[in-house]
Amino acid sequence: MRLAQKEPTPPTDAPGAPYQKGAIFEMADRPQQLIACHNCDLLQREIPLNPGCTASCRRCGAVLYRNATDSIVRTLAYTLAAVMLFLIANLFPILSIEMKGDRSAITLLGAVISLWDQQMKAVSVVVLITTIVIPAIQLVSMAYLLLPLKFWRMPVGHTLFMRTLQHVQPWSMVEVFLLGVLVSLVKLTQNFKVVPGVAMWSFGLLTLLIAAVASSFSARDVWERLDQIRQRRVRT
């Protein structure tokens, strides 16, 4: 059900077009839709955007949508690369220290378990969720949604996965964790010989890739693709 066609708006206070960066070019095959700003609820008309441009709310300035080029394919590529780095980052030690022949190294999961054993269970669970569980859920759902969509198939339970992605997004803190690793590194170099492990570098790259996933992913494109697949099915 699309509302754009049957919305009777009087001309005096018709919803205005959002502020756009860059010029507009014609995209005749999409009907004009209405969009409500999620920050201030201002009703606006969707306008076609040039690739790479952003539409922001004309009242409060929130980003409404973007025209992300090849969003689905690019996000999928970044996601698959991120999955591999995620595995490396979790399997290998992040840091190791040496002091008079004594050596100690930790992986991320090792750090979580060690904290659990030190009776800091609540904190260790928070660390586990924000650095391992949520990023894993994010990457898996992303791949699960985008892989079928690339081949014009409907992923089963797509609403559930889209909802999960949205709810889970603020709790993925790989970049904060990376900063934590760097701060610990500097603190440790005062007293120990510190050797950064493979996982530290892969966490660095993982942070970049997750940022790339976030900036190329566009939920709007996913929903649009889902609608198109549905329309194709109806036609055939």
Partner: protein, 214 residues
């Protein structure tokens, strides 16, 4: 300064936008819970009980902020010295030992951001409850900023985790996480939940003398 009110809100037309797929749809009967025609998510004009829930989480955050700052965050022991550091004293120690960059980063992440978040959310909630028309654009921007920077307060929790797990060299050097780690982590989590519960659209409703419950 009151900005020019341009256009109308979706809610004033009986339209609500789905918070999952962003589809704008009309709600036929306002008393019945409506669902998004595209993805089936329950529709609301505004986040339900946004102000009450946000207050509850925020007040718990304030309460836990006290032990988070007064208790010991990290215990560092070696052959020569034994230190017990709260968040603040840890930062002061970092500054004195010459790691000024790191001291500033930790100060911003674990002192400035949580405090900023608590104060800003209080300001937003009070202004929304008083149906203030004062600078809605700036208040919305403040909200967006809180959402963006909130996560970075987790920094200290990660640092403590890594150090406590790594430095376990028997009698030579030991680092232990202190009791403040739990309330501190809780403050971060609670304020993140609080900012998620807050609905910035409530900032704009008084400008058009509108009021929506659900």
């Amino acid at each position: 300064m009151r900005p020019k009110v341009q256009g109308v809100s979706a809610a004033s037309r009986g339209l609500s936008s789905c918070h999952v797929c962003n589809l704008v749809s009309r709600r036929k009967r306002l008393s019945v819970p409506a669902h998004c025609p595209r993805c089936g998510t329950e529709l609301h004009f505004r986040k339900p009980q946004s102000v009450q829930r946000c207050w509850a989480l925020l007040i718990s955050g304030y309460i836990l902020y006290i032990p988070a700052n007064l208790l010991i965050m990290m215990e560092t022991g070696s052959l020569i010295s034994y230190r017990k550091d709260t968040i603040i004293s840890g930062i002061v120690h970092l500054w004195k030992t010459g790691n000024m960059m790191i001291a500033v980063i930790v100060f911003v992440a674990s002192v400035v951001i949580p405090l900023l978040k608590l104060i800003s959310l209080t300001l937003l909630l009070v202004s929304v409850q008083r149906r203030s028309k004062w600078r809605p654009k700036q208040r919305t921007r403040l909200y967006r900023m809180i959402e963006l920077v909130g996560r970075w307060s987790m920094l200290d929790v990660y640092v403590v985790t890594l150090l406590a797990a790594l430095v376990q060299l028997g009698s030579m050097a030991v680092v232990k996480a202190g009791p403040a780690a739990v309330p501190f982590g809780a403050v971060v989590v609670l304020t993140m939940f609080a900012s998620m519960q807050f609905d910035p659209r409530l900032i704009w409703d008084p400008l058009q003398d509108e009021r929506y419950q659900d």
